[in-house]
């Protein structure tokens, strides 16, 4: 065997590799990582890894700093993947950190191994993709405006009387245009959220107010099929600090989704509760439910799982909802039993300050 082969192999990787012992002291730092951090690896071997990263503390984003508060002992046998942001001058670099336990021949954990992969290219491609979608969606709106507008004018009698067959066909064109416009809007919305281009207008408000607003806006649609709403609240104060318009969008999406899957004359229950840290909202329906194997991809893009009882969607509503809740540092998940209905639950950090009274 070639002397020093393992080290040669590790130094030849394009990814950075860091090995630490159980006390977080550096055992090994490969050449790409030392070049990336611009440090002399010989000097750092045997020293605490925390000191190495603390020396770059000001360059790490808050997300990155948090990620380096680590403890090989506490991490134990778990493997973990997370993303870090690294500022190098004016340039922001993105790294993916994969870590897992290092074991000796007997299987005993002796430290932890970290691998760092440069995600800058992936991020650039992602940004380009988002920009493309944004421009394409914007450009699609203009011809859609012309098509829908022309149909509207003909249906409205601008060009004189039209016969029933023509009216029916134009009606089909009209609803297809509406669907296309909804799709464009959803794609644009999601691309903006994913690209981090939305600015949340944070304010403290009662989550129950947002729920009331959403339910009022969907009441007419629900009543067409005899569907009723029930609101349960276990607390009188349910304040969150969030972007009210966006949270109303979240609740509206969830309730609209519940309407689509509810049987005629069904009931949709919206429950609100709070604990020390979170305000939680759940939307339950008595629809067909979601199969267990589909639960993981329910928040994915263009996932239209199950057969809705009424209306259709773009397949992006739940993806947008998930992205918006995550953007608010909240969490969303679903519980479901096929045949018995679904319950979508989201929670948002509880606000510290009371809501500011709005002028009527």
């Amino acid at each position: 065997m070639i002397p020093g082969l393992p080290e040669i192999i590790l130094d030849s990787l394009t990814s950075g590799v860091l090995a630490v012992d159980l006390e977080d002291r550096i055992l090994f730092l490969n050449a790409p990582l030392s070049q990336y951090l611009m440090v002399d690896r010989q000097v750092w071997t045997g020293k605490p890894a925390a000191d190495l990263f603390n020396s770059f503390g000001s360059q790490l984003s808050a997300k990155g700093k948090l990620a380096y508060r680590r403890d090989p002992l506490r991490e134990g046998g778990r493997t973990r993947t997370r993303e870090l942001e690294w500022k190098d001058g004016g340039r922001v670099m993105h790294l993916r950190e994969d870590s897992g336990p290092m074991r000796d021949d007997s299987g005993k954990v002796m430290g932890r191994l970290y691998a760092y992969h440069d995600l800058s290219w992936e991020k650039t491609i992602d940004q380009m993709k988002s920009e493309f979608i944004s421009i394409a969606s914007h450009e699609l709106r203009t011809p859609m405006t012309s098509i829908k507008g022309s149909v509207d004018l003909i249906l409205g009698g601008c060009t004189g009387e039209i016969n029933d067959e023509a009216r029916e066909l134009l009606g089909v064109a009209h609803s297809a245009c509406d669907r296309m416009i909804r799709l464009i809007n959803d794609i644009l919305d999601l691309s903006k959220i994913e690209a981090g281009q939305i600015k949340l207008k944070l304010a403290v408000f009662q989550l129950s107010d947002a729920v009331d607003y959403s339910l009022r806006s969907l009441k007419t649609i629900a009543e067409q099929d005899g569907i009723s709403f029930k609101v349960e609240s276990s607390h009188s104060v349910l304040c969150v600090e969030a972007d009210r318009d966006r949270i109303e969008q979240v609740v509206t999406n969830l309730v609209f989704n519940a309407i689509k899957f509810s049987p005629a004359n069904g009931e949709i229950t919206v429950s609100l509760s709070a604990d020390d840290k979170w305000v939680t909202c759940s939307v339950s329906d008595h629809g067909s439910g979601i199969k267990e194997e589909d639960l993981d991809r329910i928040f994915g893009k263009f996932q239209q799982l199950g057969a809705p009882q009424r209306g259709g969607g773009t397949g992006l509503g739940l993806a947008i909802t998930h992205a918006l809740v995550t953007e608010h540092r909240g969490k969303i998940w679903v519980e479901s039993q096929p045949g018995a209905g679904s319950r979508f639950i989201f929670r948002l950090p509880k606000a510290v300050a009371p809501p500011v009274e709005q002028e009527p």
């Binding site: 709106r141 203009t142 405006t145 012309s146 409205g156 601008c158 903006k192």
Partner: protein, 131 residues
Amino acid sequence: MVLGKVLVVEDDPDIQKLIRMSLMFRGVEDVVVANDGQECLFAVHAAMPDLILLDITMPRLDGYETCRRLKGDPRTRAIPVIFLSAKVQRGDEEIGTRAGALGYLTKPFDPMTLHQQILIILEKAEALGIV
């Protein structure tokens, strides 16, 4: 309120046609069209319209800058301006208002109610004493 003449500033010929038909169907007597902001600044003096309906994303001179220049010219300052744009990002309406526009309508618009929406904005402005 009766709109006699409207200047439509829009670079898409299909949308120009649509707005013209929509407004004339609702009784507007004359609809003059300019293809971009530069054309608008020339056409406005000859047309002296009762209202300017202004797109934002246009070649040569965009809607915001066109509006600022219209409001900066004593001869055109009093002509009401309403934006009609596909730009729907938050903040766009605020920029439009700061540029001096009375209101902001978004595309896609309903041509059957466009005239009514314009009148609502104008009547609200009139009630507030802005026009």
